[in-house]
């Protein structure tokens, strides 16, 4: 089957690349487009390491077809922050909310989706927002603290 051209907006910039038939968004972003920030953790939709935002909503890139992003907006950690870190990134650094760092990109995108729609979440809302993102290192507590602290800082880029 022929490859299919996909045009979409990645982190604010228009991009075009070819996708294999049936290729998932994670593989497409990493190998087709060269954005290596979403991570493969299970390919089963079970760990959240590949979480990206599709039109602002968190999706699991491993369970999303590349073709589904045609004409849409995809955001990854590569677009988070600019010359200075995003408040969430700053909070993750300050709270030691990453150890191996492998779940961090997905965790940050789930957190961003939460704060974008709910700038002042409760602890329970934070927990719910990241409950699809597995972390094996931290025991989650520093991650929850970092997200709450970023929300409290109120800074929005």
């Amino acid at each position: 089957m022929p490859k299919k051209p996909i045009t979409f907006v990645l982190n604010g910039a228009e991009r075009a690349a070819f996708a294999d038939p049936g290729q998932n968004l994670l593989d497409f972003l990493r190998r087709g487009v060269g954005d290596l920030t979403p991570k493969y953790g299970c390919g089963q939709g079970g760990c959240g390491a590949c979480t990206v935002l599709l039109d602002g909503e968190p999706v699991l890139a491993c369970l999303t077809l590349a073709e589904a992003v045609e004409g849409r907006r995809v955001d990854t950690v590569a677009g988070l922050g600019g010359p200075a870190p995003h408040p969430l990134q700053e909070a993750f650094m300050a709270h030691f909310a990453a150890q191996c760092g492998y779940c961090t990109p997905g965790m940050l995108m789930s957190a961003k989706a939460l704060l974008d729609r709910n700038p002042r979440p409760t602890r329970e809302e934070v927990i719910e927002a990241i409950s699809g993102n597995l972390c094996r290192c931290t025991g989650y507590e520093p991650i929850i603290a970092a997200i709450l602290s970023a929300a409290a800082s109120g800074a929005r880029p």
């Binding site: 079970g46 030691f96 760092g101 927990i127 409950s131 290192c137 025991g139």
Partner: protein, 340 residues
């Protein structure tokens, strides 16, 4: 049918390193001409913070700001040998190797500074902010950068150091088990409070109170990362995890995270940590490895708490609802002990 609360306790020690195979690690340290240092290793950072703790150890030993040290690992073309990141050995073994390498580099740095200042190197001290001065005479000073430049372009010195830390292999006696298994021990005690539902068999960890003795908390936040994450893993081992739920039968094996269960962010228990620091005589600045022992006391503390709550002993992990219900049935219902 009711919820029952119970408390359980456990205490452990943990051996640092793996003497039984012979346990070396090496490190190289060198300065750029502007007085910034690189530590070169082949040790692995798998999240425990190897790069970060070694960076602090090197900065402390060299007497320079931590920002002026960068740790480069692990490229087999440049990094010298290391056994690997396991057995809680990294901080202890690699840290000691880095101290040795940094001491050698520091000595040459001070010789270079001494030549520029026309003093004896033994009279020089570093201020940890990038300066070297004569002890008691802060006015007679040279920056680390100037000393490094002089070493490179005027004196022809290499500001570099090599380090190795080796715990030689300890044999094991076949008859008695006599051996030197480790060089030091970390310690922990843990009290866990649980709530057991005698209708569903579910256990919820409500609270953890711990004390961990780590030699020295070389970086208190890195230590906290290990202890908090490790205790979470211990809770997970106690109540959730196994690849073979019907062990030794191999059926019903999980192949994804919807069947291989771990506590999520909604299952956490507050964890009150106390850190004790009794420096290890042979540890880098007294440090031991906190990375492995942190989970261990949680497993037995949880089953002891279940017994305290409902009076059944769960001697096979994980303590799943099925096991608890079967034990409660055999006992004829919950019999709270409330011993602790």
């Amino acid at each position: 049918m009711a919820l029952h609360r119970g408390r359980g306790f456990a205490a452990v020690n943990y051996p640092i390193g793996m003497n039984l195979g012979g346990d070396p690690s090496q490190a190289l340290v060198h300065a750029n001409p502007d007085g910034k240092f690189t530590v070169t290793l082949s040790s692995i950072d798998l999240g425990q913070g190897m790069k970060s703790v070694v960076r602090q150890i090197a900065a402390e030993t060299l007497g320079v700001p931590v920002e002026d040290v960068y740790v480069d690992t692990a490229d087999s073309d440049t990094g010298p040998h290391c056994m690997g990141s396991f057995a809680s050995r990294g901080t202890h073994r690699v840290g000691n190797a880095v101290i040795q390498a940094a001491q050698e580099a520091r000595a040459i740095l001070l010789e270079a500074a001494a030549e520029e200042l026309e003093v004896d190197a033994a009279d020089l001290v570093t201020d940890g902010e990038g300066n070297i001065h004569v002890r008691g005479t802060p006015a007679r000073t040279i920056t680390v950068m100037a000393a490094a430049q002089a070493a490179q372009f005027r004196q022809g010195r290499t500001i570099a150091g090599r380090g190795i830390f080796l715990i030689p292999l300890s044999d094991v006696d076949p008859e008695t088990g006599e051996m030197t298994p480790v060089s030091c021990f970390a310690h922990a005690a843990m009290l866990v409070e649980v709530e057991v539902d005698d209708e569903t068999g579910e256990v919820r960890v409500l609270d953890m109170k711990s004390a961990y003795e780590v030699g020295r908390a070389l970086n208190p936040k890195l230590v906290e990362q290990q202890l908090r994450g490790g205790a979470w893993m211990g809770m997970s081992h106690a109540l959730w995890e196994t690849t073979e739920p019907c062990y030794p039968d191999r059926s019903h094996r999980p192949v994804d995270f919807t069947h291989y269960l771990m506590p999520g962010p909604g299952d956490l228990a507050p964890h009150h940590i106390s850190i004790l620091e009794r420096p290890a005589p042979d540890g880098p600045y007294g440090g031991k490895g906190p990375g492995e022992m942190c989970a261990n006391p949680v497993l037995p503390a949880v089953v002891n708490a279940i017994y305290d709550a409902v009076g059944v002993r769960i001697d096979e992990l994980p303590a799943t609802p099925e096991k608890i219900l079967r034990a409660l049935k055999a006992q004829g219902g919950a019999r709270p002990k409330r011993r602790l």
